[in-house]
Symmetry: C2
Subunit: 491 residues, 2 copies
Amino acid sequence: MASTKMSASLDGLDPLEHMSKSDTIRLRKRLVGESCKLFFRSDPLKIVRAEAQYMYDEQGRAYLDCINNVSHVGHCQPDVVAAASRQLSVLNTNNRFLHDNLVLCAQRLTDLMPEPLSVCFFVNSGSEANDLALRLARAHTGHQDVITLDHAYHGHLSSLIEISPYKFNMIPGHQQADWVHVAPCPDVYRGKFRDCDHPGEDMGALYAEEVRALCDKASARPGGGVACYIAESLQSCGGQVIPPDNYLREVFRHVRAAGGVCIADEVQVGFGRVGSHYWAFQLQGEDVVPDIVTMGKPMGNGYPVAAVITTRAVADSFRDTGVEYFNTYGGNPVSCAVANAVMQVIEDQGLRGHAKEVGDHLLERCRALQQRHALIGDVRGVGLFVGIELVTDRAARTPATAEAQHVLSRMKDESILLSSDGPDRNVLKLKPPMVFSMQNVDTFVDVLDEVLAELEDLDGDLAEPVNGHHVKTNGTNGTNGVNGHRGKATA
Amino acid sequence: MASTKMSASLDGLDPLEHMSKSDTIRLRKRLVGESCKLFFRSDPLKIVRAEAQYMYDEQGRAYLDCINNVSHVGHCQPDVVAAASRQLSVLNTNNRFLHDNLVLCAQRLTDLMPEPLSVCFFVNSGSEANDLALRLARAHTGHQDVITLDHAYHGHLSSLIEISPYKFNMIPGHQQADWVHVAPCPDVYRGKFRDCDHPGEDMGALYAEEVRALCDKASARPGGGVACYIAESLQSCGGQVIPPDNYLREVFRHVRAAGGVCIADEVQVGFGRVGSHYWAFQLQGEDVVPDIVTMGKPMGNGYPVAAVITTRAVADSFRDTGVEYFNTYGGNPVSCAVANAVMQVIEDQGLRGHAKEVGDHLLERCRALQQRHALIGDVRGVGLFVGIELVTDRAARTPATAEAQHVLSRMKDESILLSSDGPDRNVLKLKPPMVFSMQNVDTFVDVLDEVLAELEDLDGDLAEPVNGHHVKTNGTNGTNGVNGHRGKATA
């Protein structure tokens, strides 16, 4: 094949571009597997640079980023970039050699964990972390069975697709493995047990009882037995679900009684995002401690680094299998330098407290919006992990799927990047970089307010064309003011 | 837990150290899973910096690196470091946004592949690549069964341990899955069919016939059917095995006749290491083309980036399952900038041709050594992928396992990093950074010559202490001259 020769000097191109957007799209379509989807497929974004909570397209237009939890301490955070660059120029090798960055990172992480979570394994991605967690659980318990939640997504690997209903339910003819047991997602708004149907009850215990029943089922299976329960501490793909009080405490009790271990998947929600605590499982009480915690995305602010932290007992069981665990890049000096820098920035900038303050403001303003827009059925969240569930009928809680998709599209027109999730894709999902400001909250809510008002004007008829209808705010060029922030990274 | 507060200013520490080596060891033992093994366990190395083909410990001692194939274009290669640092400071986000680095990387990679290998998937590690390759193969064929080689290692993930006899044979009580079929490793020196027992025969066809028989077995299994054959194009962990001519051609024919696809694992051996070609499968002939190629380690020179390249037909089958494939860091602008820089350096510095030239010299000098040392049973390799198999009896080809371990230890004393592999750990394994020089070859062979002579003097009695016995060469401080090269990165 002939290479397309194009240089940055072509007229009209951003200096960070090598080709026109149409050429990028053409090459992508030809050369990259179509299973890899783009955001906004009909009109995807070409982003050429980013800073803090803003992303910039090839025309210099700024977008307010409400979705990139990976860029945890802000896109291109200078301390993190400097730490990576410095270490890349000095040494980048594997963990079969001793290195201080590795042990300092392990020390820092375990210092942030409750006892007895004290032993680390370093890997490259949240998926690798969850896969290793399953191996640890099976080595420790001698059991095979896994209890997972409905709508869960734990990663793109074969072993994780098998325990991710979010994915395997989409595969025609998928045969759920006999060692996989799916418990209801503890979603008190839309799940099996709804708060409105069980007033005053212990919803946590109610949902946990479902897990207990699956423990019995797994234990009764010939050759079966509970290896582990695995769940995100707050379910993200399932629709930004906050489990009810007492849920994890009861679940952990049942799972341990059945001889299994408990895995908290903190890949999306760890590192202070929830504001009040560093890890989301801690929201359920100081006495609620998993046996294995997995972490990833925010840990490297975009650099591929992830980890599994477990107890000495579990780590020793894995060691006793006699099989070495070697991960080529896991715990290399660069990835550990990056993770150490990310944790330092969280501390130096007080980002955990900031997430609480800004998140509280976001929840408060969204709840005020809920009073004025019937489309908003539920507002839930902790810190900078927030879901806004849209419904066409509040009493019936009917998912407003088309409306949610329309909101995303209109928010993009207004230079705000937002996504939706949940089984009905009707939950607007916010998990922005942690430097998201009070002013960003106000911009977001003001624009959402107007977009919802438009939708209500449409009387639900989404077939009617609304593109080109721009909200009039304080911005230039018909946008909402996001572009007024160019160059001002943090507020 | 209280943090250990230590700073770089402590007396006597290298400026790149944060604590003494003994503290690093103590923290590592306490905080990192013991399944993660160190090189030279009784006296591990603390490496604080590296450049080109040299690594430096905390005392400034230089080691000649014969083993780090990940640092493909040389440790801390400046162009690669600059590309990473530059892109890290501008944008590092996921592939749901369009970016030129991604499509340029895909274009470059597919330009290096024979038709019809034309569609890319980007991931973080060779393990992730091999796991995805299995998913692609199964989606395309609708079959489950995998044919793998004895002694194979394809990665640390659950799905890959199941097809890696190198690992699963070590697990007490491991139950090989019924969809896994293990073919003999095509090792004509020590394998099922030895060249000495089959003079003049088509060894490739002989070993391939074993794969054909397994295809029949898989197809006959209730619910079975061949999804794929997977093998490293040159088996590394199996002992630096070079398959005989005609092997892959015949294997691919049998596997395709059974409805399976063929996966070439180039994670260790790709990107020009074999010298004469860019990919090792090409050694078997221009007409030998896999359906799926996986690549990793050298691709990012230490930065976690890997890829799967396949045909349009296989990629379309995967797309048609309807399941999105999303990999958080896969194909991000930084990893693609790094991969593009690595490929540019290989081209600019002519490293593929260099690998052939230096590799030929290495093989020639090792074969000359074989004439003088009965311990060397076999010397094999292509380019900078070389194995030296030690035996205590040439006729019986008895593995010299203890001797090989002794050689590694003595080479380390002489500041040369070498490892061994193969089922008997008696194959000295060289896969150095590609900037390894002619002079490095001479240093390596001269030292090996003297170490083997020592061993022969010992009459095989390895219980006798030999530490402290230093080879006298042209170096200073009792070393072999490696430290004379400090600061001179390439020859």
